[in-house]
């Protein structure tokens, strides 16, 4: 119940902030999604041209895929605990477990391609600074989220530690989703500015 209230509140605040920020930037949600799709199609066309496993394709597509998988993980992971107030189970749990390794792989590729560029530099714009801060936040939260659930799958932790690991996974996941939303907003803002 507490998790449901906290996560719901955080998500509402995050999405309200996202939409109001987009509105303030003169972009509606519809426009943004349209732009997002077009951008994805462009990157996909590049991938078709150079091959899906080419570094230039993976560099961008890993981000899109990681984000998509994170969205799916969030839907399958939060629906039952947040809205039905019951633990994950059944098909949703199955889907969550199936998507999880794909998200982890996409995230790893994304991180490996982009991490070098996320080092703070002197004299860079505040927009870049915020973007980089979001990246590092995502990286830390993803580590926490994956490690906590990964450790719980091994016969190492007793019930109390299991409960702690599960709670850490859940709250880290909420924070990860919020960080990803904020990061996506900054990415959109940056690219739109460039265009």
């Amino acid at each position: 119940m507490i998790f449901s209230i906290i996560s719901l509140t955080v998500f509402i605040i995050a999405f309200v902030w996202l939409f109001t920020s987009l509105q303030a930037a003169g972009r509606g949600a519809g426009d943004t999604l349209k732009w997002w799709r077009q951008h994805y199609r462009r990157k996909r066309a590049v991938a078709h041209e150079h091959g899906w496993l080419s570094p230039s394709s993976l560099r961008y597509l890993s981000y899109f895929f990681a984000l998509d998988f994170l969205l799916l993980l969030a839907i399958t992971g939060f629906f039952q605990p947040v809205f039905l107030l019951k633990p994950m189970s059944g098909l949703l749990l199955l889907l969550h477990l199936t998507i999880a390794p794909f998200f982890a792989a996409a995230l790893l590729i994304f991180v490996l391609f982009w991490v070098e560029k996320q080092k703070p530099k002197d004299g860079e714009s505040s927009r870049h600074k915020r973007l980089k801060m979001c990246f590092w936040t995502i990286l830390v939260l993803a580590c926490v989220s994956i490690l906590s659930i990964g450790l719980s799958m091994f016969p190492l932790a007793g019930t109390q530690l299991q409960l702690i690991l599960l709670a850490v996974h859940k709250y880290a996941a909420v924070a990860l989703v919020v960080a990803a939303v904020v990061h996506a907003y900054f990415v959109i803002q940056l690219f739109m500015k460039q265009q």
Partner: protein, 609 residues
Amino acid sequence: MCAWTLAAQTEKIGDKADGNRSLPVHRIKLFDENGDVVKPYHERSMPFSLRETCGRECHSYDTISQGWHFESGFGSNDSGRAGAPWIFSDQFSATQIPLSWRAWPGTVHPQEIGMTPFQFVKDFGGFYPGGALGEADSVHSLDNYFRWNVAGKQEINCLACHETNPAYNPAEYVTQMKKQNYRWAATAASGIGQMEGSAAKMPDNYDLYGTFDAPSPNDPVPMVFYEETPFNRRGEVLFQVKRKVPNEKCYACHSTAVVGENAERWHGDDDVHIAAGMSCVDCHRNGLNHKITRGYEGEKNGIVSLTCAGCHLGDDAESVAGRMGAPKPQHAGLPPVHFEKLSCTACHSGPVLGNESADIKTSISHKLGTVGVNKSATAMPHVQAPIFLPGHDGKIAPHKIMWPSYWVDVRDDSIHILPVENIRTIVLQKSTYRDTLHSGDWPQLSDSLLATILDSLAQQDTTLQQVGYISGGLLFTAKNDSEVVAQPHSAGKPYTWALAHDVRPARQSLGIAGCNDCHAYNSPFAFASVSPPTPVLSAQGRVESMTVFRGASHWQTKLFALAFYFRPVLKLILAIVALLLVAVLALYAFKGLATLTQNLASKQSLDKG
């Protein structure tokens, strides 16, 4: 003050402990049901009455009679979680019915099959330790008024549980109850007196106190002959009664045997608690009112610390963890969701499940431990275990299960159970019961034989609307002379009741070998076959998956189980990803640290310069 005085007056000397923990000696006089002292050398001695002997001065009998074992649903509106039924089974009419005087859903009230308390006590009294059904006038019907006078009342048999003298013979108690020697049964079982004759053979006008000639030389009037040895010069007898009931006394009525398992007695193990030196009553405790703690979670008026979780985990505020040295389990690697969905017993209790649910026998339903018991593997009634399904609290728990089988008159949408006596005659005439006579099993009914029996029943009583037979979850009705129609019917739904023993050692619990113990594609926990027993040949071999009983989708469960094949891959990917991400984080953290120290060093040089 007045109330206190009254309470003090009504309290008897054995009702309340004074703090001394030693065993009180029970060298006492015996009293018969009229309150007269029993004298062993009297020519026509009465059996001793436990109401008078134990309850006269020392123990408040009326308070004790509120106990679960005695009140049988007549003393309480709340009978708690559904428990073991009394199973009426009749081999020749292929009938087995779960009975209960309590309002447990799925059981049949004995009166629905025309069974009076007198008949009930006759059939089941050997395993019923007396009380409401056996002695309360308010419960008895006038139909058997004279028979009650002949047989006497079945008072609470305190000795059944508390007498530890090895001379006490529970099988003798059963024998005497079968003979309708209700008032004599406890005396005969105690070994203090020997019983002759049978009240069942006496006519309704038999006078216990008058002179009465036996109906025949082979049927003497019921009479008890006391041994002189147990009595001392003052006419007192030493009872070896214990407050703390030994396990063997409980086992007299509460044994469960898995058919085919541990054919040699020494192959089997006890419940892990018993093996550790505990006794049943360490957990199943009671006060003077004998409302024994059943020990399940959520029990009304139960004691939290006497449940599995209360004693072993102690997470609850009311718990006293570690009671009686209970170890706290770690459950390492077990996702906590299991504690929300499974009872403790799901993993730790009952027989180990194979690919099929096992046939079991219980003391009460199969009259185990009595003289002449049928030891055949197929002896009725047919009960199975374990079946994993949601219990009273929605958590999956192992259950015992039985499918009722009985003959019915289907009237509109309701069904009425037909009396067994008429059916037995017809089935005996028509069936080849001799094949199964010695095995104690029901006769095998082909479709044509069943159709013939149904037809005969309909002809015998033309007032019946449609005669049918409920068995294995199906209602069979005659289509024509040789064919029957079978369809699922709610009346055929199985009755299930939770089991909690024997508790296996931790290393034999489900899940000890990993997730696949329960989540494998073919794990018995999820997919074991359950075959509803029925004498109808065409319906035999019908198999249902364990998932059906849990109300889960078979294919969804299969799919979920399939996912566990990929679990090692998932673990591997997560481990690699987590390691690399942590490595990246660490690398850049060190890089950042290096930059920081370099910056600090250059700043220091600048300051010096």
